[in-house]
C-alpha cells in the first residue's frame, strides 16, 4: 500500500502566536517551529497501516525551507521518503492553493491512500483534506478516530458529536485523522540518523506546473483581523438540592449529553 501523509511545520503551539500587522500572516520568523502535533497522528496512522499491510509511507509538505525539519521528523519516525515543496511564490497561499499544490505533488508519485490531520493547528481552516480529495477525484473520509484496512476495503470510525459512524471506502481515498486517533511514536536515535540517507525530493511550484499561486492571486484575502470576543462569565449553579438536575438540563440544552 502506498500511503502519502501530509505534514506541516508550524510555530510551536505552546507559544502564543502573533500576526504580522500588514499581511495578517502568522509570524513565523524567530518562533520555535515544530511538526504540527496533529500531523504526528497522521504519520503514526500511516506507519501502522504499512507495518500491517506492507508498502511504504511518503511524507509531503509545503512550506518554507525549515519545513524540512517536519519532513525529517516523519522520516525519523519511519516514513520512507520525503517531499518538500518550497517556493517564495507560495508564501501566504490560501487553503485551496495549498490543496492544489499538495494534490499535484501527491499525484506525481502516485498513491493508494492519502492521510492528513483534520486541520492544522496554526491555520485551522479544516478544508485542505476535502479539497485534496476533490482535486484527486477520490472519496474523502474525514475525522477518523481509527483507520483499518482488510486488504480490500478501508474501514474508518468517523468521530461525530454523539459517538462515531463506521464508514467504508475503496482505495484510493483521502482520510483525515483526529489528533487523539493514536499515540504517535517518538523517533529513535537510530531512526534520526537513518533519516539522513532517505530519499528527499525538493520541488518548486513550477515543478508541479503551478503558476503564480501565492497570496497575491489567492482566491481568498484577509481583509481584517479582530480579537476573539472575551468569554462571557459562566453561570454558577448554587446547590440547593437541584444542582445536578440543572447542570444535566444545561448540558442537554447544549447537546453535550
Amino acid at each position: 500500500m502506498k500511503v502519502v501523509v501530509c505534514v506541516k511545520q508550524i510555530p510551536d503551539p505552546n507559544t502564543t502566536g502573533q500576526l504580522e500587522p500588514s499581511t495578517h500572516f502568522l509570524k513565523r520568523d524567530g518562533v520555535e517551529a515544530v511538526m504540527d502535533p496533529g500531523d504526528e497522528s497522521g504519520v503514526e496512522a500511516g506507519l501502522q497501516l504499512v507495518e500491517k499491510h506492507g508498502g511504504d509511507v511518503t511524507v509531503v509538505s509545503m512550506g518554507p525551507e525549515r519545513g524540512l525539519d517536519a519532513v525529517r521528523k516523519a522520516l525519523a519516525m519511519g516514513a520512507g521518503k520525503g517531499v518538500l515543496i518550497s517556493d517564495d511564490a507560495l508564501r501566504g497561499s490560501d487553503a485551496l492553493t495549498t490543496a492544489k499544490v499538495l494534490a499535484a505533488a501527491i499525484k506525481k508519485d502516485g498513491f493508494d491512500l492519502v492521510i492528513t490531520a483534520t486541520e492544522s493547528t496554526d491555520g485551522y481552516t479544516g478544508i485542505v483534506p476535502q479539497a485534496i480529495a476533490e482535486l484527486l477525484d477520490v472519496p474523502a473520509v474525514t475525522f477518523a478516530k481509527s483507520v483499518e484496512y482488510d486488504g480490500a476495503t478501508l474501514k474508518v470510525q468517523r468521530q461525530t458529536e454523539a459517538g462515531y459512524d463506521v464508514v467504508e471506502a475503496q482505495l484510493p481515498a483521502v482520510v483525515s485523522v483526529t489528533a487523539g486517533a493514536n499515540e504517535p511514536r517518538y523517533p529513535s536515535l537510530k531512526g534520526i540518523m537513518g533519516a539522513k540517507s532517505k530519499p528527499m525530493d525538493r520541488l518548486t511550484a513550477a515543478d508541479l506546473g503551478i503558476g503564480d499561486a501565492g497570496g497575491a492571486t489567492a482566491g481568498q484575502t484577509i481583509t481584517a483581523v479582530e480579537p476573539a470576543p472575551e468569554r462571557a462569565a459562566g453561570e454558577i449553579v448554587k446547590d440547593e438540592g437541584e444542582a445536578a438536575k440543572r447542570i444535566a438540563e444545561f448540558l442537554v440544552e447544549k447537546k453535550v449529553i
Binding site: K73, Y186, S188, L189, K190, I192, M193, A195
Partner: protein, 380 residues
C-alpha cells in the same frame, strides 16, 4: 558546538518524552519517594538507555554526545532522582560491562539493561570507606572454586530496585590497599544479598538509596568482571565517566533552574517594578548566566575529549568541581530570588535546591577532586 542536527532532533524527542511522560508525575513520585520501575522499561523501549551503545547489544549506535543530550534533558523531569537513576543505569554501572565484560556477561547484563528489563546499581561506598575507596572492606573469599562475598555497601542508588549490582570487593589483603580489589557482577536474588534499609535523604527523593548487606553470597568465577586484582584501576576509569555525565546533568539542571528564575524575576513585582529590574538582582542574574555558560562550555570541551576516548582525568575533575561550585551558587541565589515562595516545599526551586547539593558529594567529593587535581596537575 559539539551537537549536530541529529543531536538536536534527539533532544526534541527526549524533551517531548520528558514533558509528556515524566514531568507530570514528578510531584507524585517525590511524595512517594520512588518512581515506578516501568520508567526504565519505557525508556529502554524508546532506545534511551542505549543511546551510545553498539547496535549489536541493542544500543542505538550514537556517540557520547547523544548520552549527554539525555543527561541534559532529564534535568527537565522536575525530580532529580529520576535522571540520577537513569545515569547510574546507563553511564555508571554498565559501561564497565561493555569495556571488560565477557560475551556471556554482556548478554546476561548489558543487553537487558539497555532494554530496561534489568535495573543496575553500582556498589563502591561502604560505612567505613567512601572517599578512601582503596580501603573498602567488603570481601570476596575464594572457597571451593567459588567466591563468597561478605560485607556491606552504603548510599547505593537503585539499591532497592536493582536486579544486579556491579560490586567492588576486596580479594587481596586489607594492607594491599588499591591492589587486590576486584569487580563482581552479582544478582540481587542470590541468598545472602539483602537490602538492609532504604535511606531518607535531603533531596533526590524519587531515587531509592539503599544500604545493602552481603552475608556469604556465593558467586562463580563468571561473576568476576575484568581481571582479579584490577578492580580499583578499572573503577577509576568508571569514575571518570560518572563524573563526566554527572557534570553534564548538573550544569543542565542549573540552566533549567536559572531559566525558571529569570521568568519569575520578570513577573514578580515589588515596589512597583519586576524584581529583576533592581540592579542588584539584575547583576546577580547576569553573574549566574555567565557562570553557567562558561562552566557548560568547559564541560563540553572536556566531553569532546572523552568522546574521542582520551582520558582527561584532571579536566574531568575540574569540570565536576566547577559545576559543583556554580550549582551551589545558582541554587542559593535562585531560591533567594523566589523569596518565601522559594522556601516552600512544593516549588520546583526548593526541590532543585535540595537535589542539586549532591553534585558536590556523589561520585567523589569536591575535596577528592582537589586531591586529584593537585596530584595530576600540580605535582603536590
Amino acid at each position: 558546538m559539539p551537537f549536530t542536527a541529529e543531536h538536536d532532533a534527539l533532544r526534541e524527542t527526549i524533551r517531548d518524552f520528558v514533558s509528556k511522560e515524566l514531568r507530570p508525575h514528578a510531584e507524585e513520585w517525590e511524595a512517594a519517594e520512588y518512581f515506578p520501575d516501568s520508567v526504565f522499561r519505557r525508556m529502554g523501549e524508546l532506545g534511551f538507555l542505549g543511546l551510545r551503545y553498539p547496535e549489536k547489544y541493542g544500543g542505538q549506535g550514537g556517540d557520547y554526545f547523544s548520552a549527554m543530550v539525555l543527561a541534559e534533558e532529564m534535568a527537565r523531569a522536575g525530580s532529580g532522582g529520576v535522571g540520577m537513576a537513569v545515569s547510574v543505569q546507563s553511564e555508571m554501572a554498565t559501561p564497565p560491562i561493555l569495556k571488560w565484560g565477557t560475551e556471556t556477561q554482556k548478554q546476561k547484563y548489558l543487553v537487558p539493561a539497555i532494554k530496561g528489563e534489568k535495573i543496575a546499581a553500582l556498589g563502591i561506598t561502604e560505612p567505613d570507606a567512601g572517599s578512601d575507596v582503596a580501603n573498602i572492606r567488603t570481601r570476596a573469599e575464594r572457597v571451593d572454586g567459588h567466591w563468597r562475598i561478605s560485607g556491606s555497601k552504603l548510599y547505593i542508588t537503585n539499591g532497592v530496585r536493582c536486579d544486579f549490582i556491579l560490586l567492588v570487593c576486596r580479594t587481596g589483603k586489607q594492607e594491599d590497599g588499591a591492589h587486590g580489589i576486584t569487580l563482581f557482577l552479582v544478582d540481587k536474588d542470590l541468598p545472602g544479598f539483602n537490602v538492609s534499609r532504604k535511606l531518607k535523604k535531603v533531596g533526590m527523593f524519587s531515587s531509592d538509596t539503599a544500604e545493602l548487606s552481603f552475608d556469604g553470597v556465593e558467586v562463580a568465577d563468571e561473576a568476576v568482571l575484568g581481571e582479579v586484582g584490577q578492580g580499583f584501576y578499572n573503577l577509576m576509569w568508571e569514575l571518570q565517566g560518572e563524573r563526566m555525565i554527572g557534570s553534564a546533568g548538573a550544569i543542565a539542571g542549573a540552566e533549567v533552574a536559572f531559566e525558571e528564575t529569570l521568568k519569575w524575576c520578570k513577573e514578580r513585582e515589588a515596589f512597583g517594578r519586576p524584581i529583576g529590574r533592581f540592579q542588584v538582582n539584575k547583576h546577580k542574574l547576569v553573574d549566574l548566566y555567565t557562570e553557567i555558560t562558561v562552566a557548560k562550555n568547559f564541560v563540553y570541551s572536556v566531553a569532546e575529549k572523552w568522546n574521542r576516548e582520551e582520558y582527561p582525568v584532571t579536566e574531568i575533575s575540574m569540570a565536576k568541581l566547577v559545576v559543583g561550585r556554580v550549582t551551589t551558587q545558582v541554587a542559593d541565589t535562585c531560591l533567594q530570588l523566589y523569596g518565601g515562595m522559594g522556601y516552600m516545599a512544593e516549588t520546583g526551586i526548593s526541590r532543585y535546591f535540595r537535589d542539586s547539593r549532591l553534585i558536590r558529594i556523589g561520585a567523589g567529593t569536591d575535596e577528592v577532586m582537589k586531591e586529584i587535581i593537585a596530584k595530576t596537575a600540580l605535582g603536590l
